[in-house]
Amino acid sequence: MSEAPLQRTALYAQHAALGAKLVPFAGYEMPVQYPTGILAEHNWTRTHAGLFDVSHMGQAFIIGPDQATTAAAMEILVPADIAALKPKQIRYSQFLNEEGGILDDLMITRAAYPGYEGWLYIVCNAGRKRQDFAHLEKHLPPAVTLKRGEGMSLIALQGPKAEAVLARINPAVREIAFMSYESLDLAGITAHISRSGYTGEDGYEISIWDKDAARLWQLLLTEPEVKPIGLGARDSLRLEAGLCLYGHDIDETTSPVEADLLWSIQKRRRIEGGFMGTARVLKEIADGPVRKRVGIKPEGRAPAREGTVITDMTGRQIGVITSGGFGPTANGPVAMGYVEAAFSKADTAVQLVVRGNSMPAQVISLPFVPHNYKR
């Protein structure tokens, strides 16, 4: 990696004051955990509300003269149905390369601010945002432009108490439907509040100006149900929820069909194609992928980490673990990885090679912990 100085989010001083352990992550100095530790933070988020600084993620706007033009431009780069997005609706999708591999995954929101009807708002991964923005600038037609979100912070409030906590500040947040947003006032702060997240729990992702970030962060932390949560627990929460981590579970070699993300490719796009990587994606939809992302449950207590070889019962390699660790809510090791399609059915017995020993494991249908979204 480069030796460039690490960037800091607008909440850096808050993390330091809370005693966070700060580590380099995607070019930023980010809190991996606070003094209570990853296990406690994980469990707190599942039972109360966790507060996450995710300001390192890439926020940007795709701007065209009207929604139809902007959507058409975006649909060349992603396989989701953007034209059908309702105002304020959010969709999960992926930037694909010409070979159908995943360049990044992202959230796409149809903005509905008066005067901004042709705008899409996107949130992409911190470690990929530079490439994503270059990719957009290269491929967007002249009538559609990219505007990077300068000076913007992003705070996630996740967990079963998230709604009750945020509603104390503005009751209107209760009415925000899952995978949609509202622009609302939070104690004098203008906030773009999405009902979405990366933990499998109900919750919000709140986009605000940097200048307001520390005040909203502190305000939320005064609520008794809220504790700050670092990237460590964010990883175990998303893993239990079966959600992909870019660079691990998905990358430029994996297609959305292999990654079991077909649900994010709406019917019209499967029929019409018209996005980069169409040939591979439609072929894999028709013929089935060669390999598939699945959940893997090791039978013992030993975690199987990323890179662990998956074999069939005869010892022949059939795949590899792409994310693995300990699931505090699942109360045991949890993992996901790619296996040959013939082994992708739930309950298939497989083996994991951990430190030279074969450990029994089972293919399971994700997630490990049921989603608790408010639908």
């Binding site: 990853i38 207590r301 030993a302 300990f326």
Partner: protein, 123 residues
């Protein structure tokens, strides 16, 4: 005999020719929440500097190297059901294994408490 410490952050407490070993409180702090400990079987021989155990925290797997040479004569079976014992009492109830020393002179290579504290502070 007072407890001795290795540069790999293990502690060794000797009674007769039996050394009880574990990881230091500093080590458990660095590891974070321990979720699994893999220990060698009783009867296995270990060599100083060789792999003696694996500690899995929420974050990562870390190898534990034997600070002394000998034969494993007992392991802490409580760690199987309660690996967090390592976090709660690294230098007490969270011990890993007992080793019958085959070369007690190796103990001279280990640090005493003040030397170990200094070592930690400088690393």
């Amino acid at each position: 005999m007072p407890v001795k410490f290795s540069q790999d952050h293990e502690w060794v407490s000797v009674e007769g020719d039996i050394a009880t070993i574990g990881i230091t409180n500093h080590a458990q702090e660095q590891l974070g929440d321990v979720v699994f400990v893999e220990l060698l079987a009783i009867g296995k021989k270990v060599t100083k500097g060789g792999e003696a155990a694996v500690v899995e925290s929420v974050k990562a797997a870390s190898e534990v190297y034997a600070p002394v040479t000998g034969e494993v004569v007992d392991v802490n079976k409580e760690l199987e059901g309660d690996p967090a014992l390592v976090n709660r009492g690294a230098e007490g109830g969270g011990w890993f294994m007992k080793i019958k020393l085959s070369n007690p002179a190796e103990l001279n290579d280990l640090m005493d408490k003040p030397a170990y504290d200094k070592f930690v502070a400088s690393h």
